[in-house]
């Protein structure tokens, strides 16, 4: 609550002092499990702002969604650790200018995965949620459940190393510092121990589910092409069907397109209507990018995005001898 109050104060003063024309935050939405983006342009709206486990949206997406909207405006933005990295990438990728954005950093304790909550309630509708820090309480018709926070956090959060915003103008609340999150890659490591055929079968089963709604792409803060390659039809880059080779190639290429750019915010996975374990690919790519090029997306505002850079003496064992 403290953080929320401080955030509201901060927004108010930014607006009052005309340091920003618009502030992007979160407010309580119509559903108990998800906050909704809040666009603050006047001081009195600032009191709607909240910051809790339901604030999953990565608000940096609005910088690229409609660039015109932000032209000539100074924008304040509330960011979690992952969101801050997205903002940094937006700056590195010339989508916004650093001087035009006021970053209000927040320490993040993770955000909810609605699907995980519903799994706990056995599909029963949740009508109320109370964020108690280590635990969350969910209530519905005829039930009242106390859940450990970790049980219902987005899997991206469970693997997060940088919960605090690393790039900011103001930081609100108490920084959590780097979280080692040992075993964060356990799922991937285990998957890698499977045989090639087993991996293939699992991958195929996963991507056979895809209905090509592109929600993953559309919620992704790093996916901001005017026309996504998958939608281009002159020429058509890949087939448009839900056949698994088409869907898988779409996802593989999308992952390569966000290589060195994916901040692992998990928005894609939370948005997926088919519950595809999308992060399994994203995190593998991020892992390779870090291992091979030493790069973590959006961490260094003075750096160069991994895929726009190279060094002459990189590992190249994968090249035929």
């Amino acid at each position: 609550m403290n953080t929320t109050n401080e955030l509201r104060k901060n927004i108010k003063s930014l607006i009052a002092e005309k340091k920003v024309d618009l502030f992007l935050g979160w407010e309580k939405g119509s559903l108990p499990l998800a906050a909704t983006p809040l666009f603050v342009t006047a001081e009195d709206q600032a009191d709607k702002a909240i910051f809790d486990v339901t604030c999953g949206n990565n608000l940096s997406i609005y910088f690229t969604k409609d660039k015109k909207q932000f032209e000539g405006r100074k924008v304040g933005i509330a960011v979690k650790g992952c969101d801050a990295r997205s903002v940094v990438l937006n700056i590195l990728e010339k989508q916004i200018k650093r001087e035009n954005v006021v970053i209000v950093g927040l320490p993040c304790n993770g955000v909810l995965d609605r699907k995980k909550v519903l799994a706990k309630t056995d599909g029963r509708e949740v009508l109320e949620l109370i964020d108690n820090g280590d635990t969350v309480i969910v209530k519905g018709n005829g039930f009242d459940l106390q859940l450990n926070r970790e049980e219902v956090l987005s899997s991206s959060c469970l693997a997060c190393i940088y919960p605090d915003a690393q790039e900011y103008d103001f930081f609100i609340g108490e920084a959590r510092g780097e979280v080692p999150n040992e075993g964060r890659l356990k799922e991937i490591e285990e998957f890698q121990t499977l045989s090639s055929l087993e991996r293939w079968e699992q991958t195929r089963a996963e991507y056979e589910k895809c209905i090509r709604c592109y929600a993953c792409r559309n919620v992704c803060p790093s996916c901001y092409c005017n026309v996504c390659f998958v939608d281009q039809n002159d020429p058509r880059w890949i087939g448009g069907t839900s056949e698994y080779t088409d869907t898988l190639i779409f996802h593989v290429i999308r992952n390569l397109h966000v290589a060195g750019r994916c901040v692992e915010c998990g928005a894609c996975q939370r948005a997926c209507p088919m519950d595809i374990n999308l992060l399994m690919l994203n995190r593998k790519v991020a892992m390779e990018v870090k291992d091979r090029f030493g790069d973590i997306a959006g961490l260094d505002i003075n750096g160069k995005p991994a895929m726009s850079d190279f060094k002459e003496d990189e590992k190249q064992k994968f090249i035929m001898g």
């Binding site: 090639s196 890949i238 080779t245 992952n255 190279f310 990189e314 994968f318």
Partner: protein, 139 residues
Amino acid sequence: MSEWQPRILAILCNWCSYAGADLAGVSRMQYPPSIRVVRVPCSGRVDPLFILKSLQSGFDGVLVSGCHPGDCHYISGNYVARRKFAVLKPLLEYIGLEPNRVQFSWISAGEGDRFAKVVTKITEDVRELGPATRLVKKL
């Protein structure tokens, strides 16, 4: 019935690897008739999608070859390409594509013999794997 002959798409850069293939031919070096060559100016031109598209289209394997590091006719195109391949290759293996289906090499204009060797090697590798099935789109 003779041995199954895989079909492998070879995307070669114009200045080194394609020239290497020419040299292999001019030198009458014999290698398996498995590859189908597509010439691009530089390995830097190779979009990872080219590789996936080719596999989907039914090629049993894909070879991408450029100039040796430092030799790029376009100075650094192969370095740019290498980063892409360095991510693509482990990712493809990760999703369960057989590791040897997609391979990368550096072959210079003077390395006709290396070209022949590389083609022989990838052909053997792919032959061992058998016809591609996993990413092949049934039409």
